[in-house]
Symmetry: C2
Subunit: 333 residues, 2 copies
């Protein structure tokens, strides 16, 4: 099969075009295009062009407002809220970013509550700009039930990722972004397509019994990473991105969702802190480098994000390639 080579600005244009044909206005389409292009740029294909069909489906089904006008409101001295107006998350996030940065720089710490959004992107794309602005940041969001609470048999939590970022003296910030499930659902889908088994402890079948068959897991549920500890964290994400900010839990989002293949309506919680206001204004940047040196000094270790940054350099220069079949499918959308 021949591959299609695309420069990153061609990826961006392809996404904008596709979403505008499906009912987005340019502002909303461009915001989504920025996160999809960033994902492709960093080799994070599970959140790249692969997601475009899902975005398109939710526009076509009428679930998502492609012309959303997110509204920012300061609802407490250190809490910023963005009502996403039923649109995709990226524009809501971009709308709330600078108010969050300003709020954190004024108070030392601030939170951003995003409600009425449809979130289908990687969280590291949201954390990185905050860390580049010199802030320590944490984000989490829920989804639809895919993960069973420890000890149980039925999915209740979303894969509920948590992302965290820390600024560096030079170069890219340290950012991790990880699902609270053992593996992401996308990896199971890939295994099913390619016909190989999953490792033990990844998921259970529809009756809650352990299995390594990816198809059975897709009909069943994923397990939280690290047993009850990951399960607790998944619960925490439900509370932060749902209970705290007045948005849906995963099980509520699923009840309302039309299962058009795109994301359900939900919320996101983002925390930002200015380390310069926590007591070590002069030293904190140099100090944290000492920790990163200690990690990097051990053979076999890696700072979170290292792999993405290596991909970024290469893909920014060389562009990305995708199969003709995938490319044709996008053109059909």
């Amino acid at each position: 099969m021949t591959d299609v080579k695309l420069a990153l600005d061609e990826v961006h244009a392809l996404v904008v075009d596709t979403l505008m044909r499906c009912g987005c206005d340019e502002e909303n389409a461009a915001a989504v295009a920025r996160v999809i292009t960033a994902a492709e740029r960093d080799g994070c294909h599970s959140h790249g062009l692969m997601r475009l069909a899902g975005y398109a489906a939710t526009l076509k089904s009428g679930k998502v407002n492609g012309k959303a006008r997110p509204r920012v409101e300061q609802i407490a001295p250190a809490v910023v809220r963005v009502d996403g107006d039923g649109g995709f998350a990226p524009l809501a996030l971009e709308t709330g970013r600078q108010p969050l940065v300003d709020c954190a720089r004024k108070n030392g710490i601030a939170a951003l509550a995003l409600v009425d959004i449809y979130h289908f992107a990687a969280l590291w794309t949201e954390i990185e700009p905050l860390a580049e602005a010199g802030l320590c940041a944490l984000a989490c969001t829920s989804y639809k039930p895919a993960v069973i609470p420890a000890g149980g048999k039925k999915a209740l939590y979303g894969t509920n990722p948590i992302a965290f970022g820390w600024p560096r003296k030079s170069g890219n910030p340290v950012v991790f972004d990880q699902a609270t499930s053992v593996v992401a659902r996308g990896e199971v889908m890939l295994a099913a397509r390619e016909g190989h088994q999953m490792a033990e402890g990844v998921g259970v079948d529809a009756d809650g019994n352990p299995t390594t068959d990816p198809n059975a897991i897709l009909e069943g549920s994923l397990l939280a990473f690290g047993g009850h500890k990951g399960s607790s964290l998944a619960m925490m994400v439900e509370l932060l991105a749902g209970g705290l900010i007045g948005e849906s839990f995963s099980f509520e989002a699923a009840r309302r969702d039309n299962n058009d293949g795109g994301p359900p309506q939900g919320g996101e919680f983002i925390l930002a802190m200015d380390p310069g206001m926590f007591g070590d204004a002069e030293g904190w940047l140099d100090h944290s480098e000492l920790l990163f040196e200690q990690i990097a000094a051990q053979e076999g270790t890696r700072l979170p994000g290292d792999r993405r940054h290596a991909n970024r350099e290469r893909n920014t220069r060389d562009g990305i390639s995708l199969s003709q079949a995938v490319y044709d499918k996008i053109l059909e959308l």
Copy 2:
């Protein structure tokens, strides 16, 4: 071996007496006694009277200031800092608690940075009062290197617990408190004493090779829970409880420590949020009960803290029992 029965107020008095004989003033001794008594009350023996010898050792070695006078300072509109004056963590925490609660209620979100403390207690004892005050709270602290970064061979991170709490409409708040290592070091010590093997994946020997021998693990290192995901969280704890607040990373704390058997000097990070200020002031308490109902409805699951609360009821009524040998050792301190 005969057991000694103690009512909870006798546990408290025993700790106060012991610590005052070792050089604490009454205020510091009573604050430590409250967390040790709470641990025994909740059946959390690893953080109960078992720790008293370590507390005593640090007083005797002159490392810890038994007459510490913690100083509170508001260093940013939403950041409270407590300088622990080189004392045990509990009094510093009690000193900072109400300022943190007030700050969170004023701003929606607030952070407490605790520095120059010696932390040897369970974090849930600190989170619970915040959740009882109606706040969502998160705490973390580092220690001395015990956990290897994913892929590496040498311990760099402490067991770095993360605790989180959420208020409930009635009854005890939901609180979890979990090390970012697969198991706590105390469990390995217990296995070594009782002569049984650990499970695979808990730790490595001094050369970084996997082992199930608890003695080899004690000379080696623990692994983070859930592989690289737990390792990322352990790194995050180092950054929050160290880099952010201008306190030591675990590896720095170890370098300075005199290894007297007690905790090293370090810091702690606590976050508090008032859910009533995040956009769902009327509904959040009822709403979160819906999630807890969904969790509890599944056979085999449990809300974090359930086991402790059952112990609490029993031990508050019946007191606790400890072996004559352990009791005699305490009296010797």
